[in-house]
């Protein structure tokens, strides 16, 4: 625990940021954090749904791409609705 405290203190004094205590300073790129979220969600969902786990990488990739596609479509529709109507 002391080692962890030292590491946290050093990080805090050098970067002004302590992991887990302070929010990650990536406010401008928050949208990019949706990518690992969707990938993680796809992996867990497909792990629970597939009988044969050898198909997991392919199925999870396809599912993640479908979710991304749906998100892009939703953004396009909402953007066109709010900007052009």
């Amino acid at each position: 625990m002391n080692v962890m405290a030292t590491v946290m203190d050093l990080t805090g004094s050098m970067l002004g940021y302590v992991p887990f205590r302070d929010p990650l300073p990536t406010e401008r790129y928050w949208l990019l954090w949706l990518v690992p979220l969707v990938i993680g969600l796809s992996v867990v969902y497909k792990t629970l749904n597939l009988e044969d786990l050898s198909k997991l990488p392919r199925e999870a990739t396809v599912f993640a791409l479908k979710v991304f596609g749906f998100m892009v479509c939703a953004v396009a529709i909402l953007w066109s609705l709010t900007d052009y109507l």
Binding site: M1, M4, A5, P19, F20, R21, D22, P23, L24, T26, E27, W30, W33, P36, L37, G40, L41, V43, V44, Y45, T47, L48, N49, L50, E51, D52, L53, S54, L56
Partner: protein, 195 residues
């Protein structure tokens, strides 16, 4: 051999149906899965599935805490002082994560009581807070899915499928199945002769 279609995955054959006629209740596995993600599947012999769940759900939770800070897990956020946040119910889908978050809170609080000028942690606001809450809540909800998956299922069928992934194991399983079928047919023939 008639193929029975199950709700997910590949068709289930009659042989599988004979081997495992009824799904089972697994309350112990569900409790273990609630305590630690993936532990329910590990207890039921589905090691690979359990390991993937453990790593992925824990990674989602850690990412959420990293993004939003420990303030992302908050039983009573500022805007809902009087009632427990619905997000917290979602985050409670995994007990281990709540305990880990509380341990981090204690760790950062140990230097002294927080004051207004020196709070124990910097509260996250805006999009980062939303991302942190979303990550941690989704980790909890996905763990609830994992709990539902183990609480009432047919563990032997899946464990057998996991084992039979390698060609050698598949051949062995096929020969074992053929032997079982032959033994069953022989027993039926004997009964017919006796009758």
């Amino acid at each position: 051999m008639t193929a029975l279609t199950v709700t997910r995955g590949e068709p289930l054959t009659e042989t599988h149906r004979k081997r495992d006629p009824n799904p089972q209740w697994n309350p112990h596995a569900a409790f273990a899965a609630w305590a630690i993600p993936g532990m329910g599947h590990l207890l039921l012999g589905q090691r690979k599935r359990g390991a993937i769940l453990l790593v992925t759900i824990a990674a989602l939770w850690l990412m959420g805490l990293l993004l939003g800070g420990i303030g992302a897990v908050n039983r009573k956020p500022l805007d809902t002082e009087t009632r427990v946040s619905w997000w917290f119910y979602c985050q409670s889908g995994n007990v281990a994560h709540i305990f880990a978050d509380q341990a981090l809170h204690r760790f950062f609080l140990k230097d002294g009581a927080p004051t207004l000028s020196a709070p124990a942690f910097e509260p996250s606001l805006g999009k980062l807070n939303e991302q942190g809450v979303l990550y941690t809540s989704l980790a909890g909800l996905l763990n609830i899915m994992a709990i539902l998956d183990v609480i009432y299922c047919d563990p032997k069928h899946r464990a057998a499928l996991d084992r039979s992934r390698s060609p050698k194991a598949s051949q062995e399983a096929d020969s074992e199945r053929a032997n079982q079928e032959a033994a069953g047919a022989k027993a039926a023939a004997i009964e017919r002769v006796k009758a």
